[in-house]
Structure formats: structure tokens, C-alpha cells
Symmetry: C2
Subunit: 342 residues, 2 copies
Amino acid sequence: MTDLAAFYRGRRVMVTGGLGFIGSNLARRLVDLGADVLLVDSLIPDYGGHLFNIAGIEDRVRVNIADVRQQSTMDYLVRDREVVFSLAGQVSHIDSMRDPFTDLEINCRSQLTILEACRRFNARAKVVYAGTRQVYGKPDYLPVDERHLVRPTDVNGINKVAGEYYHLVYNNVFGVRGCSLRLTNVYGPRQLVRHNRQGFIGWFIRLVIEDREVEIFGDGSQMRDFVYVDDAAEAFLLAGASEATNGEVFNVGGDEPVSHRDLVAMLVEMAGSGRIRFVEWPAEKKAIDIGSFYSDSSKFRAATGWQPRVGLREGFGRTLAYYREHLARYLDETAPATAPPQ
Amino acid sequence: MTDLAAFYRGRRVMVTGGLGFIGSNLARRLVDLGADVLLVDSLIPDYGGHLFNIAGIEDRVRVNIADVRQQSTMDYLVRDREVVFSLAGQVSHIDSMRDPFTDLEINCRSQLTILEACRRFNARAKVVYAGTRQVYGKPDYLPVDERHLVRPTDVNGINKVAGEYYHLVYNNVFGVRGCSLRLTNVYGPRQLVRHNRQGFIGWFIRLVIEDREVEIFGDGSQMRDFVYVDDAAEAFLLAGASEATNGEVFNVGGDEPVSHRDLVAMLVEMAGSGRIRFVEWPAEKKAIDIGSFYSDSSKFRAATGWQPRVGLREGFGRTLAYYREHLARYLDETAPATAPPQ
């Protein structure tokens, strides 16, 4: 197993989407490990970036507000970075179908922008890309491994897989080392909960905390696997520190698949608030539903020694506790840039 | 088997890239079938579009010079079209690595432009997309069928597969019927032979006709399959006329795989000119070489009844004859817009 402390101490890293959900949690780990951390984020409203996410570590990171689509900015920012964690993205599948071009610009084209910056100005950087299990679409078999066909069911999934493939080609042809982690459903503190267009978990957590009704489509029997955000951050750290990951894609998922129904029941029970309501599938959602999905992460475990450490109950317990304390921060789009007392 | 004459008679079709290699050959078939043919082409130098390609049918088609990247143009042009053959593209893999953004704009983004035009202004159109076997990359097994993983080895392959996936999503989610034909090596009259950045066949044919040396990398043992352009055009016609193709991808390849070495030997023998020279693999080409490749087209045959009718010797015979007569036209970038006497 890689000695992360030894690898990251003093290491110059960059996290795009560094004020977002996974990016900010990754930043916290990097700060703890003693890395030289540059966070890049454009703070596009509704995407999840939020200065409160780095409350408590503001003085130990450098924040550069910028858009990954802007070439000269990226050319400059990557210059001295040894590891680039490429997490900036448009996450909403719904938004991608309403405005496919913006999704293309952010999820597909910007990856070329970052990779070209590396190729021309810092070809020794290692780039770790945040991929998604959405690239698989409706699975042919479960659990899904990396041999499964890529068959995205929405524009976001297509642009994400194109962004991923660029990393492999730049690795193989230009020697800009890169890999992709196809994340399943990541959850935890600092997740966007203000709207429900970035997936269901954050939204469910908010509804439960607000003692509201959680709508489950159909009978809620579809299975999903979940990764607690600290485990996801650990996956990025390991991928960035390993040469065995170069040019490869990896599933990064949880090992306790659970149905929507059981998940929400657990949240309601743990929170002591909220309730389930079963409703018919809305037609437009049914059209892009993929049924059950959970992934096999054994390739990544074998390559890096990663394993998820935080079980579902523990992870959701921490998440509920976080949002009980800070929910208001995540509902207010004009949240202040300074951190509250810790 | 579909009655193509009955289907296409009077049918309003559009061919993007209609002055290019496959587009212009398809246009000829469509004219023969009595279709109402609109050809759209931007005539970008070096891409293959050429007014001489429609010599003899100029009066039976409508030509609209335009770029598929331009949204309002596409919005207007698709309005009354029943079948859209989407062949406009940047074909050079080499160019895609030198200028990945232009490749992205033309091969990936423009597909969204066309599909959005259809979705908003003509959702009843059927769109047939020219995909490529390049999306498979280096094959795990031969012949390659559609269950093979998509693993492009260059930027062009990535953008082409993203363009392809958009068609499937727009079919499944928005009901804009679409499919993709993953073409292998298409050859025949009206192919670009002016430079060698669009693949080797046209270039080899030119060298042989000019009695020059054909360089073969390594021992030339890598296998390829070939489709004569009339068979490729027939595949587009069948795909456009069939409902069984909606939402699907299909390999369209030849059934006589042949090695580079044997192919060139055949060309030299048939032409009575040119010669082979074996050379070392250039390092940058070796880096993206995929070894042998040939595809299994049985899915497309089963769906549409298609089968290639023109064998290798016959096809290359026709091609050599065409370029013996017209080579000068294809070497002159400033070729006149009017056709010569037939």
C-alpha cells in the first residue's frame, strides 16, 4: 500500500472543482498530508462549489477562481503542479439534456483544455480524472466491471466518457500520465443539497432532515452502491500516487449494494424524521432509468490497495450530523465566503 | 429486403458532407432512386469535399454550402428532410492529434447541433450517422463485433464515438430516430488522394498510379477489411429506410480481410506500376498502431439484408480506372466547380 503521507508531503497538487463536494473533501485530506494545494473552481451557481466547503482550511490552501474551459488560465495554473485532480464538471444529467452544449463545453471540451495545458507546459503532471459509472448506462450484468460496454443514456454520460477517453489517449500518445475513476454514488458532507438535479442522495438527505416526504419511483427495488466521500477522496489520493493506474479506467464503488427503498428507510429511521411515499415513475425519468446498478471495484483494489472503510450506517450518520448542523449554509446561494467558528 | 426504389422515390433527404467521398457516391445512388437530394458541405480544404465529385448529377441535386457547426443553418436545412445522412466530418486522425479542438467541434459538437436542429424543428427525421471502426481501438479479438469494448486510440476516435452516442441518446430519449454505421476502410472513386492524412488506401492508390514507391511499415502483415464505396452507400440507404436500425450501432465491413502487404502487392500487380518498400515503423505511428483489425458485420446484415457486392479485385479495378482518368482533378485544390465532359 502506498505511503500517502510520504508521497503527498510538500507535493504540488491542483484540484479542479476544488470547492465542490468531492474536491473540497479531497482538499482536506491533502492539507492533512502536508501537500501544497491549489484549488481551482469557477463557483458556477448550482454546480456545488461553495467557499464554506473549505471552512477551517482556508489558510492552508490556495484558491484560484477560474473556469477550466479557459485555455490560457489552465496553461498557467498547471505549470508547476505534479498531480492534477480533475474534478470540475457539470454533474446534472437533467441539465445536460436541457442544455447539451454547456455540458459538452464543461465535461468534454474542458478536459482537452486541461490536457493540452499539461502536454504543452507540464507533460510530467499526473492527471486523475473523476469519471462516472453513468458511462455504462443500463447494465447487462451485475456487478458491473470495467469490461462492461460503455453505453451512456444521457448527454452528460457521453461527455463524461469522452473526457475520460482523452486522458487515456494523452497518456498513451503524449505521455501525460492519466487515469479515470468511474465513481458510483458518492455521498457525504459538503454535497450539494439545494436542488435535486445532481442525483438523489443529497436531496433525500435534505428531505429527511427537513422532515419531508421522500418520493420513491415505482417500488424502489432498484439497487445502488454508495461510496462515502472520504473513501472517494482516498481513491483519488491512491490513484494520483500510483504508476500502476496510468492509462487505465477503474470502477470505484461501494460494497454494500442497497435498494432505494431500504436506503430511504434507513435514513428515515436514523434521522427520526421524514417519510417515504411511493409514486409512479414519471415518463421522462423512466425513459432514462437504468434499473439496478452496482459495480465491481476489484480492479482498483488490486492496483492500489484501496478499500472503502466507512460503512453505510456510519457514513450516513456522519452526513446527517453534518447537515443537521450546516443545512442552512447549503440552502443559501449567497452563503458568505468566510467560515463560521468551528 | 427493403425496396429502396419505393422508399427513396421522391423522398426528401439531406447528406452532410455531400460533396465528400462517401457522401457524393451516396448522392449518386439517391439521384438514381429518384430522391429529392440536398447536399450540405463546407468545402473545407483538405477534408475531401469537391464539386467534381458530383460531376454529371449537378442538375439533379441541390447543393447548400454550409458548415454543420452553425446552429441556425442546420435548424433551417433539416426542416423538411425525412432522412438525414450525417457524413460531414474531420477524418484525419493525425490532424485530430495536432488540433484536437477543431476535431471536437466538427466531429462531436456538430452532431449535437444537427440533432438539436432535428429535435426542435423536425423530430420525425431519421438520422444515419457515419461512425467508424476506429472507436474500437486495438482489438481484443477478431473479427470485432459490436459487443467489443469501445477504446479509441486517438482524439478523432473519441470525438467520433461521442458523436455516435448522441444519436443513440436522442433516439432513446427524444425520439429522433438515429443509428450509426461503424465503417471500416471504405475505398473507391472520389476518395481524397491529395494527402495521406486521411488513411492509407487513397494514398496507396495514388502512389501506385504515379508509379511511385509505397512504404509499408514493418512486415505489412496487419490485416484490414475493406468496403467498396457503392456497398457503403447501399448500407446508408438500407439503414435510412429501416426502422430496425433505430437506436443501434452496426459494423459495416468487408468480408475479405487482407494484409497491407498483400493489398499493395495486388494494387501494384493490377496497375502494372508502383512498387513496395518495407520500412521501420515510425515511433509516433507505432504508438497508435492497432495491429490487425477486421470486423463482423453480421448484425447489420441480419437487420437490413445488406451484403457487400463488390469484391476487392473488382473494386480496386474500378478505383484504379477512375483515378487513371481523373487523378489530376484530385491533386488540384483549385479544381473548377463545373464538371468536365462525361
